[in-house]
Symmetry: C3
Subunit: 269 residues, 3 copies
């Protein structure tokens, strides 16, 4: 990892303003759009099978998130994913709650078979489930105490020939050869819905900015963890997750190369 | 009602962290997920017919909300509801705007026929419509001036053999025999969309914590009314419903047995 | 334009409390509901083909927004639009991202053919696309530097025999004969998702209040631009788009004839 290269992505995304096409869940779709704007990219959320392929032609990155997946939206994901592969833009996959039901496992497998995915981001249970483990997913929650996360990330990265981001207390990013650990964050990030989905949108925003997808993944993941840490620190007394969520968006909006360079805590291993 | 038992639910829900499966509307789905987290439970929002039955197996409570109901999602509700009945977890039903259209009346009736519902929460017009009254629902709004709400709640509770919660200026909870009235609240709770839906999610969170569903309903309903009252009181000058909504989430996040015991105003009748 | 008439709509909407039926996108649906409440109207968001016609019978205005349009929801829009025409309530159309894909162009054309639309609101690219221009829509973003916006608004107003609102740095409202330009606003309104959709909801709220649709359009458009300007001015240090969005809702909630009359900057041409 070249820290300077990653840091510079924070100005580059605002300068290039990539269009990030999302096919995502209905729970966090508004937050994903806003976080994409906050980091300096532009979101578009078309989900209809009639138009996703054409929308991909305008996009610089495609984010696929199965949080509230239904059959028709899944068809749209496959169409969009193939179009993205053909056009050569990155596909970022968020396998929300994939271990929870056999339906999710099935469609995640199908997606990974039919679409070349550039980056996968999930928690340890989700990534473990993708690589065939029995990682207990409880709904969409992580229970990742028992995982060797760096090993898991690398295994998944090699299996799917892509960059893998495992969010957690310490975040891990692996491209199969290089691994970094991001030590920023705050437990409150788990108390607001959609911080995972938003992280994937941030990664999508950076991946639409550069074809150095390892750096893009590090930038997106660390942006969320660092913003969460800063948001928590700067909360006024009596604040709860309502204000934390508002502040989180503010911090992402203000994050730049300088703040990031000073406060991010990344370990290469 | 045993006030001590209800109060203790506030620590119990955070300790047990029940998984609350929602099949709900697209308007307030994000707020419902966040309020579930704020009170100490975990939300999951799967809605696909392909997976809801399996998701129910992981859940401790099922919330069904017809706010933006469509045919396919309704099929998912029936599947999930039956699975919940079989598994023995509580089903909490929010008949949003049921009096507004004949379609809503029809599917609400069908749901109550095919699924054993544990708790119903609505405003007076909605509950009146369920029991066959002509309660004018204007869209999803309440016009409940003309109702004898305690009588209505008890009638519905007996008719559907469940706990019924009627939200309003004074909230009423009845299990058919016992009735309590909650006198907390603030009119601004009607100026933010989704406070009703969020109340149902809170009730679901408590119902996933204990099988004393009468106490769970009182805890959930009073949590919202008390948090609304506190949020309004603590607003800074110039604040409107934007800040009120943020503060509401903060207050729910901080609500505990001690605050609740001191400030809740419940009358048994 | 009669400024006094427009200004009085701010008390009138709160007094008449019109019901505004939305069939809209899943990204900003929550914000649209809340902004409708904030200005003093009531939202209802039914989208099912089984019930939209009946819901229209209760409504005072119908808002149609194609932001995340899918085939079935489009069918619901046509049904609702025809019912609204028959009942004689205004139909407000938001052609989100219409230039982005041929599917959106097709359905927007079909909607304008089958439903008499009362007011259209979009950015310059969207309106240009509706009148057959090649206005580059990049996703749902505007790139409206190159348009003669007043000419465009008037052309569209005459073509579709309706009021046309073009949002931008300067907003333009035309009924084909009269034109006004609104000079309030702030660039941050483009950094939060849904401010366009919310503007359409505000216009719908005023159009449900009076049948002077030109005045209603001016009221709705200027309410958003003025609230955005005020929200930005009153932000505390370090605030970003998170707090801006919260404040925006607060400002709309507090907007009244007096503030509007003093601070709005409207030019008739």
């Amino acid at each position: 990892m070249n820290k300077k290269v990653v840091g510079e992505l924070f100005s580059l995304v605002r300068c290039r303003n990539p269009l990030v096409h999302h096919i995502t869940n209905t729970v966090t779709i508004n937050d994903c759009a806003n976080v994409t704007l906050a980091i300096g990219a532009s979101p578009v959320m078309a989900t209809s099978v009639e138009e996703v392929e054409e929308m991909v032609q305008l996009a610089n990155a495609l984010v696929l998130n199965i949080g509230t997946i239904q059959a028709e939206t899944f068809s749209a994901m496959i169409l969009a994913g193939k179009a993205a592969n053909e056009k050569g833009i990155p596909v970022i996959f968020d396998p929300v709650g994939v271990g929870a039901t056999s339906y999710r496992k099935k469609i995640a497998g199908e997606l990974l078979e039919k679409v070349r995915v550039t980056i996968i981001r999930g928690n340890a249970s989700e990534i473990d489930s993708l690589v065939g483990g029995k990682g207990k997913t409880r709904g969409v929650d992580a229970e990742d105490k028992s995982f060797d996360v760096t090993q898991l990330a690398t295994k998944a990265a090699n299996l799917f020939s892509c960059v893998v981001v495992v969010s957690g207390k310490v975040d891990v990013v692996s491209n199969g050869k290089e691994i970094v650990q991001i030590e920023n964050g705050d437990t409150w990030l788990t108390k607001v819905t959609g911080t995972g989905c938003m992280t994937t949108s941030l990664i999508g925003s950076f991946a639409g900015t550069t074809d150095d997808y390892f750096s893009a993944s590090i930038a997106g993941m660390s942006a969320m963890s660092l913003a969460g840490e800063r948001a928590k620190k700067n909360l006024s007394e009596g604040a709860g997750i309502g204000q934390f969520k508002v502040k989180l968006m503010d911090e992402i909006f203000h994050l730049d190369e300088y703040i990031w360079g000073k406060e991010v805590s990344i370990v290469e291993s």
